[in-house]
Symmetry: C2
Subunit: 346 residues, 2 copies
Amino acid sequence: MSDNPQLARRHRSTGRITLADVAQEAGVSPITVSRALRGERAVDPLLVERVLAASTKLGYVPDPAARALASQRSNHVAILIPKLSNALFVDLLDAAQQTLRAAGFQTLIGVTHYDEEQEEQLLREHLLHRPAGMLITGLNHNAATQALIESSRVPCVHLMDLPAADDTSTHCVGLRQDQAGLALTQHLLAQGRKRIAFAAAQLDPRAIQRLYGWRTALKQAGQYDPELEHLNPASSSLALGGQMLTNILAQQPDVDAIFFCNDDLAQGALLAALRSQIPIPQRVAIAGFNDLTGSDQMLPPLTTVRTPRAAIGREGAEMLLRLMQGQEQSPAWLDLGFEVVVRGSS
Amino acid sequence: MSDNPQLARRHRSTGRITLADVAQEAGVSPITVSRALRGERAVDPLLVERVLAASTKLGYVPDPAARALASQRSNHVAILIPKLSNALFVDLLDAAQQTLRAAGFQTLIGVTHYDEEQEEQLLREHLLHRPAGMLITGLNHNAATQALIESSRVPCVHLMDLPAADDTSTHCVGLRQDQAGLALTQHLLAQGRKRIAFAAAQLDPRAIQRLYGWRTALKQAGQYDPELEHLNPASSSLALGGQMLTNILAQQPDVDAIFFCNDDLAQGALLAALRSQIPIPQRVAIAGFNDLTGSDQMLPPLTTVRTPRAAIGREGAEMLLRLMQGQEQSPAWLDLGFEVVVRGSS
DNA sequence: CTGAAAGCGCTTACAG
DNA sequence: CTGAAAGCGCTTACAG
């Protein structure tokens, strides 16, 4: 039959080694090869061995597209992060990607630019690829995004944030941003600072939670004053941090400490202080958040909160891996904590 | 027939809107829908319109896996970069990804960690997905990688580097790293510097080309001395930059300028100089490379070379887009140049 | 310019 | 524990 030129011409061979080739080599049916290779169901160990040998001998590699089409499930994991220009998310991504790749998954990255509409759009696009799982930064999404996540029934782990303590259905790996903000503020209070300003840019949900922690600490100490909240919706940058420092000190000369919502702003403030010869921490204490690269190299070195972002990426990916295997996750979330790192700037 | 329970059970419907649904709605055959939607071959404009209307009405979205299986080509573009921790590559990635996504392609990222073996391994993995195109950092790969790129016949554009002037087959978007190194060194010479050291870490191919440019400039000026080459294979970091500054000045007190192969090292050197109260540029001029975030915020601001990395990512992606459409690219490469940015540190 | 048939390389659902 | 049949949703190759 295969000598029939009519049929031969119809055949669009790709030259690729297929499941059928392995099956023939091993003397079993294709479906047995499929099952043996995926470790699914019980297959006679002897046959498994023969299949493995044949597969290795022929150098067989499964076709991801065929697999995805037949199973309605790809080996892609979508990961959504707000920005690539923020080292925090790059660390998260790097760790998650390494973990997922080791387990045979490909990562598809979506950058939301802190925009809920873009996030929704990206999620829709990624869902077309029927990802095996999703890793999403944060817990605050618009209603459509929430609905998409749920209706897709694709396993999903949220990173960096943590849900309410009694939430047992939302999978998360992160830390209590508000508690971290509280702890850092308490450190500043313990140093005897009286007028502690909070300076934030971007105003993403996590920055806002740090704000809440700062508020709580100041209220507990009886030092809260709404005037001390400096919230700027612009993007974070070193330059903006410098400007905010200058403005705050000009407007409120009695401020003796500033808690910047991230290290970018705080580093910029330290550099601006050097330029303007403002003695840190004598004139004003400076603190940041995240302990990014360079914070320990500043002059003076920056007091900040170390967030375990690489661990969050890795553990988040591992939790997702378990969910994708159908394992139940209980508790649904994992708190990886934080550490206040006291350096010379406070 | 479809009432036959036997057949009905055999059917694994996914509930998805398929090409066939659109075809039925539009009253044409599935293949016509396929052609109309892809804009392939000549299809009666009237039918195209009907197909488009039906497609929109039903909310049809093609299944990427089915498409990939049938056409042996995915809508993935693989992009290989050395590190995610280097802002240079993140900028490259961000720009390339945005351009590709706008054209309907998904980006798969591979991080090589400056390791040729890992690069080869990543390329193999990505090739399994039959990418529509590839974006690869640099031109230096091991033989196996070169062979894989060629034998795969997947369109490929190399970023950041440029091939020999007479090379007409290697597609590149980048800049002449050696000329940039030469220009920066000439600037330092023009400032009257006599003993200009070159300090590099990582020692990747582009750093080495900058070294060549530095050598050429010093030789032309009759100031070359191999002792002035400080090459450290360790990873670049702020801390290492500080150490290199200290070591160089201790070993060679007559050095009056240091050209660091990247801004990370140079920024670290500036911070170390602040700590050690080494006056910059009076005692020693400092220059970096790439003009990363923060270089203009340093004290003094850092003299460096601005590389158009966002443009390289975007133009590289666009060249790839053209190649994937089967367009010839002539010339094969695009030089986006550089700019010496003179600031206070020199 | 349009279409019926076959095929891409897997997995699912059923049966034994 | 194993397999023959059908199907996943597209595109290619051929024909008209």
